[in-house]
Amino acid sequence: MKKVFFSLKEAVINGAAGLTIFSILLGFIVGAVVLLLAGFNPIEAYGAIIRGIFSKPKYMSYVVIYSTPLIMTGLSVAFALRTGLFNIGAEGQFIVGSLTAAMVGYFVHLPMMLHVPLCILSAMAVSAAWGGIAGFIKARHGVHEVISTIMLNWIALYLLNWAVTIQSFGQRGTGKSHMIQQTARIDLFGQWKITPEGIDFIRSHKILGDILKSPVNTGIIFALVFAFLVWFILNRTTLGYELRAVGFNPHTAECSGINVNRSIITSMSIAGALAGAAGGLQVLGVSYRVAKLAAMEGYGFDGIAVSLIGNNTGPGSVFAGFLFGGLKYGGSKIQDAVGAPTEVINIVVGTIILFIAMPKLIQLLLRRGGRWK
């Protein structure tokens, strides 16, 4: 037993995954302290979150739906970070992707087998260009991608707000676009659910029926495929090799004959495409349209957190995306259950990231702890 504990400690001290798990634990502890200080019972609050996630199949289904865009934007940020680029622009790329998907989904009439891929691919293409702009001006003029992508985020936001006022695209006076065609949607059984047989099925099947009450869609399958692709491209292809070399040491990469500027543009474009796919999937699977935004929705910014928690890898982003999606969905329940503010969840997430960013501190704490025994 002692040996097991010791090797676990070793893993935490030396491995990235162990460190992450430890940071998550610390995050929950700090969140508990905050709840306690605010006069709430943390055990009740966390219990409410857990019940809010696991007590009904419908809830779990919602967590998956919440997690899908976060996994995708997490992948986007992670991909760019591997090339040494900080993609703050996932937010804007997400918006541009969703706008593109909504337009293609509404204006184009095609059978479903063509319409869905066309929507996703065009969202990815436009967002790739959107991200690529930041890459290009960095490669060409040395403008830091953090600055350019933040500005591109706002341009994307206002572009969307303008687009929904276009007469043929937006519904007059509502600030919303028209709904996309049925053929562009990736929901499961959406039409069938409202038929008499569907309603009957939902009533009579406890588990499946409950799941179908949530807007089930195939987005998560796309997200998992993209996560695999990200891992594969980064670790198994010459492109990934180049991008990682540039990310770790651009001087050596240049000296070895890798085109550093092209790599920067490529990496930002791929990151943009991933965030764009996130936006597209959200429109195709959940919202079916875009609406005027008063402020950023935060999918892209949450992607930064997901990427960091997931150690900037494909599989890690999936794990962190689910964690984040679960916290976001389950966390929204504590308001009703114990009256604690939902913002506590943001404190938990913030703390986790803070500790992940301080691996040295955690390693020190653990080593000290070992000495005291």
């Binding site: 010459t238 492109l239 770790f248 000296c255 004959g257």
Partner: protein, 498 residues
């Protein structure tokens, strides 16, 4: 230091090493890269705790838990990489962490500066107390580091490879400073693998090999060769063996080359040079006479302003580094191996394919062939004796000498027609240097052309077939290596005509 053992996990870095330093002596600590010299000194300076063993200072056993304890016991360390705050003044750096204050916690700069002045005059360490660190030369920065330890009352000064970053003149100045220190009763420990310097300044020398204490000798009673063989554990030849060989046709032809440096000044200005098959051409010169810019122009890293560079009759000026490598078959051992030569976070196998990852050997249709990549690494690790023999550890965890072997393995195995070797032995120990030189000579023997750029005149004279001297961006003289003598080269390097 008595019977010191330091283990990192299962690795024994120091195995029962004892070391005695007397007042007023210069004691050199000699060993190959990774032999355990720095570990031993880090134990003394309180950066590591010894696994077993005791340290006595003036007969009293002390437990050095941290550098602060070491400092209060009169131990000071001058690190290889300086620990200075660049935008601070000399005085501010020296008093940092130990500031003299007046009432109200205000730093007493006037008395601090006076103290610094007094110390610097006492030991002949000339620095301006008000100058900013970032404006100082490397040699002056090192003097600030020495002053810092003296200001804290150091009686024993540890120097970690102090000459690695200095110019020959600065090395001479350092020798004088060390003599002043010992004359004033201070003790000096020098970590080094440069035999010449040991002969020049040290009284005693302790040799460490693979964590073991080999011997402690009086420096006057041993020769450089004896020191070298004790350090490496076998006979080392300083002379590079190379058979007579007639150089072949010209492969590289540089005409009227002009390259500007970062400040826009023509660092290479009207340079002409010819490199032939089967020869090693050494470029001798003092640092900063256009060597870096010449290398960067040849490898496509810097823009060529004017002139031509032809390889086998084909122009390569202003082509990309990739084209120059693959199409013109120019290999490059970079001057700054950590910055340009390797990717720290990549493992050895990944580093070994940096210049060939997109050839059909290691990839098909953009997919990396991992089996081929790792078997290539196994082969090169064996062939070039890269230690530890593990293709899957990161480049960061290799010692400097083995990192360099890895780079050389990569460049030589890509079978270039021209190999540009820039400072290929900087920071390496004699064993590794011997190995690098043999590899360069093998390339030459196989009929390839080697361009060797080095600031070490001994290296240039030993390895080259022909020597060209660079001064202010042009070649000011060419001599056959056999006919060259140091005096004559030195005059050329200083800009005098023959």
């Amino acid at each position: 230091m008595i019977d010191i053992t330091k283990k990192f996990g299962d690795v024994v870095a120091n195995n029962h090493i004892s070391l005695t330093i007397h007042k007023g002596e210069v004691h050199a600590l000699l060993g190959e890269n990774g032999a355990g010299k720095t570990t031993l000194m880090n134990v003394l300076y309180g950066l590591y705790r010894p696994t077993t063993g005791t340290i006595r200072i003036n007969g009293k056993a002390v437990s050095i838990r941290s550098p602060n304890v070491a400092i209060s016991n009169g131990i000071g360390m001058v690190h290889q990489h300086f620990m200075l705050v660049e935008p601070f003044s000399v005085t501010e750096n020296i008093i940092l962490g130990n500031e003299p204050t007046r009432a109200g916690g205000i730093v007493d700069m006037v008395s601090a500066e006076a103290d610094v002045m007094r110390l610097s005059q006492e030991y002949g360490l000339s620095v301006d107390p008000k100058a900013l660190i970032e404006d100082l030369s490397v040699g002056s920065q090192q003097r600030v580091e020495i002053l810092k330890t003296l200001y804290r009352g150091a009686e024993i000064l540890i120097f970690d490879e102090p000459t690695a970053v200095l110019t020959p003149q600065e090395i001479q100045e350092l020798v004088t400073i060390i003599k002043n220190l010992t004359a004033a009763g201070k003790s000096v420990i020098i970590i080094t693998h440069k035999l010449k310097e040991i002969k020049q300044i040290a009284d005693f020398c302790t040799i460490i090999r693979r964590g073991e204490h080999i011997d402690t000798v009086e420096v006057d009673k041993v020769s450089e060769e004896e020191l070298a063989s004790m350090m490496v554990g076998r006979q080392v030849s300083f002379k590079v063996d190379k058979p007579e060989q007639q150089a072949g046709a010209a492969v590289l032809e540089i005409k009227n080359l002009r390259v500007v440096d970062k400040r826009g000044i023509a660092a290479v200005n009207g340079l002409n040079l010819q490199l032939k098959k089967g020869e090693i051409l050494g470029i001798a010169g003092v640092d900063g006479n256009g060597q870096t810019e010449l290398i960067e122009a040849l490898t496509g890293l810097a823009r060529v302003q004017a002139g031509s560079i032809q390889v086998n009759g084909q122009e390569l000026a202003n082509q990309t580094p990739g084209t120059i490598r693959t199409n013109h078959k120019v290999g490059h051992i970079p001057e700054d191996r950590q910055k340009r030569g390797l990717v720290f976070e990549f493992d050895v196998a990944e580093n070994l394919i940096l210049s060939s990852y997109n050839t059909s050997r290691f990839s098909t249709f953009f997919i990396l062939l991992r089996a081929a990549i790792y078997s290539n690494a196994e082969k090169l690790i064996k062939l070039f004796d890269i230690r530890p023999a593990n293709a899957k550890i990161t480049a960061k965890s290799l010692s400097g000498g083995n990192q360099q072997k890895m780079i050389i393995a990569r460049e030589v195995s890509s079978n270039p027609d021209i190999l540009i070797a820039a400072q290929p032995t900087r920071g390496l120990d004699v064993g590794a240097i011997e190995y690098v030189h043999q590899t360069l000579v093998e390339q030459r023997n196989r009929g390839k052309a080697v361009l060797l750029i080095s600031f070490e005149l001994d290296e240039i004279m030993n390895v080259s077939d022909r020597i060209a001297v660079i001064y202010e961006g042009r070649i000011v003289g060419e001599i056959k290596a056999k006919e060259a003598d140091e005096q004559q080269l030195g005059r050329l390097m200083a800009g005098c005509s023959l």
